[in-house]
């Protein structure tokens, strides 16, 4: 049986999503997307520059890649809505990764504004992927609002520190019926594998690949790690054994 996730009729079999910011060139971005056979990517509308292919991230994408336009630069919900509508008007599609960042020092998302934007955009017919700080109640509300996936951060954006929010993400995976995609903070393929073993539907990676010495090679490694983690999740992981020499609490039973 093929393990595909269908979003809006689009079959996603590669569960590594790759962002397009921070690369040393548009061509290098494209090579990384190709090397990891990426099906879903995200592009900031701020970097879309029609008519200048050398600078336009959108023009450099492989043909079969689906794009979530992200609302990078939005400080509040109104700005995020404006970016989403501009993207649709510009013909950049209706998949929107909602980023509402009112804090320039840590780049932490505003969950409340993100929820409001998600509700509005879903009503307007967009396919919405909200980026958020991991929180069960907010994640549930975003899922109820019709988000295509809920995307909690694994660690502060650009930190490459791995799945620091593991406990919170694990709870979200167990409790929220919508797909959970860890976005931001993953630094190594093993971080991505860990997310997939937990049951995440996908991971979104950007900085770790973009600033690596060989982005296409590392993107390919991430893809293998994501596939391995997904396969492990589907197979089911064995219980972790604990070395116990005896049964100190129940050893008295049957002694007489």
């Amino acid at each position: 049986m093929r393990d595909a996730w269908v979003i809006d009729g689009f079959q996603v079999s590669n569960r590594l999503f790759l962002g397009t910011g921070k690369f040393g060139s548009v061509e290098l971005t494209r090579q990384a997307l190709l090397a990891a056979e990426i099906q879903v990517t995200t592009v900031a509308l701020r970097r879309v520059e029609p008519g200048r292919p050398e600078e336009d991230l959108l023009a450099g994408l492989p043909r079969d890649c689906r794009v979530m336009i992200n609302t990078s630069g939005a400080r509040d919900g109104e700005e995020a809505l404006r970016i989403a509508r501009l993207a649709r008007a510009a013909g950049a599609g209706t998949w929107i990764k909602v980023e509402v960042i009112p804090d320039q020092r840590h780049l932490m998302p505003d969950n409340l504004e993100t929820l409001r934007v998600t509700e509005t955009l879903v009503q307007e017919g967009f396919t919405v992927f909200p980026y958020m700080s991991p929180d069960l109640s907010m994640g549930r509300r975003m899922a109820e609002a019709g988000a295509a996936a809920v995307m909690p951060l694994g660690a502060p954006i650009g930190s490459n520190r791995g799945l620091r929010t593991r406990e919170l993400v694990a709870i979200m995976v167990r409790e929220i019926p919508a797909p959970i995609v860890v976005d931001a903070g993953l630094g190594t393929p093993s971080d991505a594998c860990e997310c997939m073993e937990l049951g995440c539907a996908a991971v979104l990676v950007n900085t770790a690949v973009a600033v690596a010495p060989d982005p296409p090679a590392l993107a390919a490694a991430f893809r293998l790690a994501v596939a391995a983690g997904r396969q492990a999740f589907l197979a089911g992981l064995p219980p972790i054994g604990q070395a116990e020499a005896s049964s100190p609490l129940t050893g008295f039973l049957g002694r007489s």
Binding site: F23, G24, S25, V26, A44, L86, G158, V211
Partner: protein
């Protein structure tokens, strides 16, 4: 809460002993450290650690900004000025002809600049409200808006309402250099004109932030006074703004004093080594700080500083009023050292493995 001027003056005048052994290494190990960490990194004791500072600065910059450099260019709309700054070619005491572009000329100049690919522009003027009043500035910003993605202001300091009006016209950022944070030296090098008001200038970025501008850029004119203390105050000023305006993007520029039509010699020279120490110490102290490098610096040095913490560079610069549509037409504010065109700067950055980003903003100015 203590006023900004009081906080900065206290920091500027506090004794600054050489750090004890091991202190620089400790400051280097962290990211986003304390004021004492910054003092250690700016001290003489850090000079032997410059390579380690550069490596750390590069790694932090790559993680936060990637391998990208945003390109921008200034557009001079007026060289009329009522100030008499001792270090500047626009000083009212220099008997040179002055010119303020009409709105049609602004349009032509914008079209010429935009044709080079530049999308982020900085409107520049001298400080003369009579030659270039606020409504002329607003008119200029409106005429520039269709040509660009982002319009910054480097004009005379305005009140909060003035910035609100220019925001409405389409501007989104503000650049204002304090020049020096030493009030006595400031008074000495600014003998006449509205710029004499040290406190009004110091509070300018706060007024811009309150008006809703999304980015402010600060600067000290390196070479005017004690660069260690001016850099310390510059960094603390930036952090003060970040603390009070979490949504504000705060940046700095690192202008070094250049020869100009009046005086030519810096009062307190800043060497290339000093500049590297300033740049890398700022990056370690404020990891998400935007840092701009202007064409005052020579091509070779600019190329070498790219990987050490710079996030923005000017390109295709003319420091003359009307210099894009009519090259060679007026006296420049200062002699630029890097005359390279936008394609030449792009080629240099690409050769170094950096993406020269021309458009990096989602909204058209409106």
């Amino acid at each position: 809460m203590r006023p900004l001027a009081e906080c900065l003056e206290e920091a500027r005048t506090r004794p600054w002993p050489e750090p004890p052994p091991g202190r620089v290494e400790r400051a280097l190990a962290g990211e986003g450290g304390s004021e004492d960490d910054l003092r250690a990194l700016l001290s003489e004791a850090s000079v032997p650690h410059l390579e380690a500072m550069a490596r750390a600065a590069q790694a932090i910059t790559h993680r936060h900004f990637g391998r990208t450099i945003q390109l921008y260019s200034p557009l001079y709309i007026s060289d009329a000025c009522e100030n008499a700054c001792l270090y500047c070619g626009y000083s009212a005491r220099n008997a040179t002809p002055r010119r303020t572009l009409s709105l049609d000329e602004v349009d032509r100049e914008s079209a010429a600049l935009a044709a080079t690919g530049i999308r982020h522009v900085l409107v520049l003027s001298g400080e003369s409200l009579s030659a270039c009043p606020e409504d002329h500035l607003a008119g200029a910003v409106r005429r520039m808006a269709p040509h660009f993605r982002s319009i910054g202001l480097e004009v005379q300091p305005l009140g909060e309402e003035g910035y609100a009006a220019l925001l409405e016209a389409g501007a989104d950022s503000l650049t204002v250099y304090q020049e020096t944070y030493d009030p006595r030296l400031y008074a000495k090098v600014h003998p006449a004109g509205p710029k004499r008001d040290f406190l009004f200038r110091l509070e300018t970025p706060s007024r811009g932030a309150r008006a809703g501008l999304r980015q402010v850029n600060l600067g000290a004119l390196l070479g005017l006074g004690d660069w260690r203390r001016d850099t310390l105050c510059l960094a603390l000023h930036a952090r003060w703004l970040q603390d009070r305006h979490p949504g504000l993007e705060v940046g700095v520029s690192l202008p070094r004093l250049r020869p100009h039509a009046g005086r030519t010699r810096p009062l307190a020279p800043v060497t290339d080594r000093d500049l590297v120490q300033i740049l890398t110490a700022l990056r370690l102290f404020l990891p998400r700080l935007g840092i701009a490098l202007s064409t005052r610096e020579a091509p070779d040095l600019r190329d070498n500083l790219v990987g050490l913490g710079i996030t923005r560079m000017s390109a295709g610069v003319s420091a003359r009023v009307g210099g894009h549509a009519e090259p060679g037409s007026a006296v420049p504010q200062f002699e630029i050292s890097d005359p390279r065109s936008v394609p030449e700067i792009q080629a240099m950055l690409r050769a170094k493995g950096y993406d020269p980003v021309l458009a990096d903003w989602p909204f058209p100015p409106s």
